[in-house]
Symmetry: C2
Subunit: 138 residues, 2 copies
Amino acid sequence: MTSKIKGSRTERELVQLFQNTGNWSAIRVAGSGLTKNPNPDVLAGNGKRYLALECKATKKTSKHIYEEDVIQIITFSNKFGAEPWFAIKFNRKPWLFLKPEQLNKTKSSNSSINLRLAEEIGLTFERLIEGGELCKTQ
Amino acid sequence: MTSKIKGSRTERELVQLFQNTGNWSAIRVAGSGLTKNPNPDVLAGNGKRYLALECKATKKTSKHIYEEDVIQIITFSNKFGAEPWFAIKFNRKPWLFLKPEQLNKTKSSNSSINLRLAEEIGLTFERLIEGGELCKTQ
């Protein structure tokens, strides 16, 4: 199975998580890694919040993230009007969600995220989609 | 050229129109006609407004629109939080934009849009994206 097909499959899983909530809609972006425009992999909305998600899956315990990916998700989100998020799927673990500024900076200008940090500071899917409600009650 | 490829090309043209404005971002939805979820063809946003667009192109002067397409774009838009629009491209004419309720009802529960009606009541791209600004100054 090519990494592109695997990527599409994990994105579809994430889209389905949103659809299953009943009050979120989510879509996969066509050719997100191919076009010259800075596009996320998945977009989700519930009429109050809009999430732009860059999806990463790995069988290892750490995932390298290029500076370009970080810039793209922020650029797109600022213009479209969405919250930028990295959605990380480690093998046999649930999805975890981190903001671009929460990624580990490497010595180069790239970033990385490891399982330990993701589990410590990342949001679970349930926490991610509850975020808007928490903000509203404050 | 298959209708699917032609459809993708016209959707890309529409996405590019939004990108060229400088303050809108737009994306094509992956597998919009294939998945069981009610998805639009294109999503656009500028941080204030979110547009869900169902794209139709034709070489004829009238385009038949299935009831299912109308229901899908409204269902998606209500949940995601977007304005539902039909984007119609007649041959050698600029894109025109109509709301679902502006389509002509046919004798069945389907709809249609013809060139004359589209030119009479449809919005040009410039009017479509100015809509938000007009609303704000009222």
